[in-house]
């Protein structure tokens, strides 16, 4: 009896989700487009940017330094400026993000064993990229001076050799793109589930459901399962693209990954259902989901680490399912994360899922009372 009712509800939801070409396209196309947009366009790496140079020095050493800029793969070209005003103007017009100003005594000081100084003029409007450029250029300049001294037979006291574990090339793509396996289906699933309840409210069919022998928890399950099916399918498609097209390998276990994703999606669906239990139309549902989605994304540590957040904010990140799945995905992709570490991230998501799903069922029941 209960299985008949549940099955009827699930079949109905799936039929509604795949009802026509337009609806089917809406499930497939936006996540794919978003995926490629995010994967290609939203990169934090700085490459192929021009670098400006205002060289006041007439010596040979400054030209050697500039030659290194020219050879650096991060920069597309070196643009020379004849005056400080020109350099300022170039940054103003956003021709370049950085201008390296080399003082007129650069070669003389270097030759004399003094410390020459090089000034970097950065465009602070693009703080993130400016920061990266600062690092690149700083490294080049430092290396230049080290090599110069080596040439003079000086030996530095110590040398730092860095190696990045798990992501040897420190590729932005390797750490960011796999996260899309969770974030894109999350958006989609919350929308599907939240809007389907809101639609039923609008049409009056929700009352029809409440009057039938279906129990509130059955309605919640019936609404969740189709969302889960669609969400997992999207996860799988995106995972295939990430591994096959982008060549990012899964180092850990696929089973662990999908166990995590399943629990994550259930928690997400719970949030979507809980939001939808407050709303009376689709417009409100859309608002509610949007308002929730942004903080979930920001507080997940997928773009800025949770450890960098203020202490009072960190517990909030812990009740965000995305925080945990981000750790799991990175763990499974970049290294073979041991299961006990995965489990540490699984149980908070299970708790979140249990709370949100129960709360949604309780809210539906409360509507009756």
């Amino acid at each position: 009896m209960i299985w008949t009712r549940l099955l009827a509800l699930i079949v109905k939801e799936l039929l509604a989700a795949f009802r026509d070409r337009k609806a089917r396209m809406a499930l497939v196309l936006p996540p794919l487009v978003q995926f490629f947009l995010f994967a290609y366009a939203a990169t934090l790496e700085v490459s192929n940017v021009p670098v400006g140079v205002y060289n006041q020095d007439w010596g040979a050493y400054s030209e050697q330094l500039i030659g290194r800029f020219e050879r650096a793969s991060a920069f597309s070209e070196v643009r020379r400026y004849a005056s400080e005003a020109d350099a300022r103007d170039a940054i103003d017009r956003q021709d370049v993000m950085v201008v390296v100003q080399i003082g007129q005594d650069f070669s003389r000081k270097l030759a004399g064993g003094e410390k020459p100084s090089v000034q970097l003029l950065l465009d602070g409007r693009k703080s993130n990229s400016a920061q990266l450029l600062n690092n690149y250029l700083g490294t080049i300049v430092a290396q230049f001076s080290v090599d110069f001294r080596n040439g003079l037979a000086y030996r530095p006291m110590s040398e730092i050799v860095d190696r990045s574990w798990y992501n040897p090339n420190r590729g932005y793509r390797e750490s960011m793109v796999p996260i899309l396996i969770a974030t894109l289906p999350m958006t989609m699933v919350m929308m599907i589930v939240g809007m389907s309840v809101a639609r039923e409210r609008e049409l009056g069919t929700f009352e029809q459901l409440l009057v039938s022998p279906l129990q509130p928890l059955e309605i919640v399950v019936g609404k969740s399962v189709p969302g889960l099916i669609v969400g997992l399918a999207q996860c799988a498609i995106i995972a295939v693209i990430v591994t096959q097209l982008f060549g990012i390998h899964i180092t850990g276990s696929v089973v662990v990954l999908f166990t995590g994703l399943t629990i994550f999606l259930v928690a997400t669906i719970g949030i979507g259902l809980f939001i939808s239990s407050f709303v009376s139309n689709q417009q409100q549902a859309m608002m509610g989901i949007m308002v929730t989605m942004m903080p979930l994304m920001m507080l997940s540590g997928f773009s800025s680490p949770v450890q960098n957040m203020p202490t009072w904010l960190q517990p909030l990140a812990q009740i965000n399912p995305l925080t945990h799945i981000v750790v799991i995905i990175r763990g499974v992709f970049l290294r073979d994360m041991p299961f006990w570490l995965v489990a540490e991230r699984l149980w908070p998501m299970i708790a979140i899922a249990a709370v949100t799903i129960t709360a949604a069922a309780w809210m539906f029941r409360r509507k009756i009372q």
């Binding site: 009896m1 209960i2 008949t4 009712r5 099955l7 009827a8 509800l9 079949v11 109905k12 039929l15 509604a16 009802r19 026509d20 609806a23 049409l203 009056g204 069919t205 009352e207 029809q208 459901l209 409440l210 009057v211 039938s212 022998p213 279906l214 129990q215 009756i368 009372q369």
Partner: protein, 577 residues
């Protein structure tokens, strides 16, 4: 007579190249200083004609002149001089009454002293002055329509087009709306009032009967009614057999229309047919009187009578659970904070009875109905279906009831077959049982031809059949209907009640909420809900008889309703004094 406000010549409107014309070669006039009723079944073209007159649609062919302006070339001039109130007037529900008025005044360019004077006049006229701070969304249906009317009248129009202004409005508010419109007529305004409620047509000086985009009749409604005098009869004394008697008489080609009127049956004979006798209708103990026709009789007769489909009662006889009433309200009370929406409402419905919950908007009728369906938990008291408390055993009790919501709550994106499958499943029918149930309703409601069409695109009559099918597939002994035929034209309404009557014949118990008197006439007993209390429970005739007086020798059910409400108010005032 002065020149007409609107003159229409050879007007046609076609929406899609291959679709049938919404308006076909229509020629007519609208006169000033009177109410012109625009009546016709659903889809007859009433709204299209209204929008054409309001210069919101361009005619495909023909010519419309409104107040001397051509609708094609001078649309702006027309918009300036007329008032138009669409079916769902664009009130901003999140704005207060005053903010709505101000907004529309701004849009219409009514400013300064003129605005002040207009607002004062309209607020007094609509009696909304006390509610200026209330959100429009929180107004009752009647008050919303009054506010809509006020907004449409901001610019003192010479012509007022009202598209179904009385849908969702209770009888008391409806009378007030009519009073308002009559006072406009006295000021020389011409009003066009479109309606599916035919009793309203009798209030009009002139009616235009539309069907399939053509004018069937234009003129004095009394003349139209008089056209069938001598062909309308009331059959009394059929007792419990009356529903099947109605179904039997309708099978005869001599009878073109028949409806229930409380314990009586109203019949209209075909033109030239013999007067019905107890023998001819096959019921010996009945008394048949010739009665004066109503506009609705003439209207249905003009449309060729009620559709004659053989009505097979869907479903089998429900099993009997003797010992308790199928539906019981025990002192149902619901409080929202300090406000008591339902106050100790008690009634019992017998097996095979149609019970109506009647009351104005906001009286507590919906609250009571929701408690009876298990959609709202009573603060006190209990709601029982087949002896099962809806809160102690919700799933079991709900499995025994069928529910049909006001707006035919179907899944519009799913096909008819998918809707049927889903509802069968939701009520726990599986396998052979489900196939059998689905096949049964498809057969009974003649849904085969539309099986793979989306429910959202069905014509109204089919939607209604499908909604009813979904509600009764699990063969509930009890069926709850929430304003099932509100805003539905007379033909579709008759068809619907035909099914209901057939089901009642099988012993199904029906509870229906309505503020629509025609629906109340189909009920065996009516409970009148007012201000949260059940102020009267009786048969429609007994209620009518109870208010009979010298001034009202033949009270209609609506008269009875209004008189009982007024008497209750009077008693309350006396008690308070």
């Amino acid at each position: 007579m002065v020149s007409p406000l609107v003159s229409i010549e050879g007007l046609s409107k076609v929406f899609a190249p291959n679709a049938p014309a919404a308006i076909q070669a229509l020629t007519t006039e609208i006169k000033a200083g009177q109410v012109t009723g625009l009546v016709g079944p659903d889809g007859a073209g009433k709204t299209t004609l209204m929008r054409l007159m309001a210069a919101l649609l361009e005619p495909t062919e023909g010519r419309i002149a409104v107040l001397g302006h051509d609708a094609r070339s001078e649309a702006t001039a027309i918009h300036d001089e007329i008032g138009y109130m669409p079916q769902r007037f664009g009130l901003y529900e999140d704005l207060s009454v005053m903010e709505n008025l101000t907004l529309y005044a701004d849009l219409r360019g009514v400013v300064g002293d003129e605005r002040k004077a207009t607002f004062e006049r309209l607020l007094a006229f609509t009696d909304l002055a006390r509610f200026t701070d209330r959100l429009a969304g929180a107004l009752s249906g009647g008050m919303k329509q009054k506010l809509g009317l006020a907004c449409a009248m901001l610019k003192s129009p010479k012509l007022l087009l009202l598209d179904e202004p009385s849908v969702g409005v209770d009888p008391i508010s409806r009378r007030e709306l009519w009073k308002m419109v009559y006072s406009l007529i006295d000021h020389g305004v011409g009003v066009v009032w479109s309606t599916a409620y035919l009793d309203e047509a009798e209030n009009c000086a002139e009616v235009i009967v539309l069907n399939e985009g053509r004018v069937l009749f234009q003129g004095d409604p009394k003349a139209m009614t008089a056209g069938i005098s001598g062909r309308v009869f009331q059959v009394h004394g059929a007792g419990a057999d009356r529903r099947s008697l109605l179904a039997r008489t309708l099978a005869s080609p001599d009878i073109i229309d028949g409806v229930m009127q409380g314990e009586a049956i109203r019949l209209v004979t075909a033109e030239g047919a013999a007067e019905p006798t107890p023998q001819s209708i096959g019921a010996s103990s009945v008394v048949i009187n010739n009665v004066p026709p109503r506009f609705e009789d003439a209207f249905v007769a003009m449309l060729g009578g009620q559709p004659k489909r053989t009505l097979t009662a869907p479903g089998r006889q429900p099993e009997r659970h003797d010992g308790h009433a199928p539906v019981e309200a025990k002192s149902l009370t619901r409080r929202f904070g300090d406000f008591t929406a339902a106050d100790h409402i008690t009634f019992e419905i017998a097996r095979g009875e149609i019970f109506g919950l009647l009351g104005p908007n906001g009286a507590g009728k919906s609250t009571t109905f929701k408690m009876m369906c298990g959609l709202l938990r009573p603060t006190e008291g209990a709601a029982l279906v087949d002896g099962l408390d809806l809160y102690m055993a919700p799933s079991a009790a709900r499995a025994r009831l069928g529910y049909m919501a006001q707006k035919f709550s179907l899944y519009g994106d799913l096909s008819v077959a998918q809707n049927l499958d889903f509802f069968a499943g939701a009520y726990g029918l599986s396998g052979a049982k489900r196939r059998e149930a689905v096949a049964r309703v498809i057969d009974a409601f003649d849904l085969k031809a539309k099986l793979h069409q989306n429910a959202g695109g069905l014509p109204l009559g089919f939607k209604q059949r499908l909604a009813l099918s979904c509600a009764i597939m699990h063969e509930p002994p009890v069926l709850f209907l929430d304003e099932p035929t509100s805003g539905v034209d007379p033909l579709t309404r008759r068809e619907f009640w035909g099914y209901i009557n057939a089901m009642v014949g099988r012993g199904v118990t029906i509870m229906v909420t309505t503020h629509f008197m025609d629906e109340a006439e189909y009920c065996d007993r009516v409970g009148l809900i007012y201000r949260g209390k059940c102020i009267a429970i009786d048969t429609p005739e007994a209620l009518q008889a109870s208010v009979k007086s010298k001034e009202l020798p033949h009270p209609t059910l609506e008269d009875a309703f209004i008189a009982l409400v007024e008497a209750h108010d009077l008693r309350q005032q006396q008690a308070a004094a």
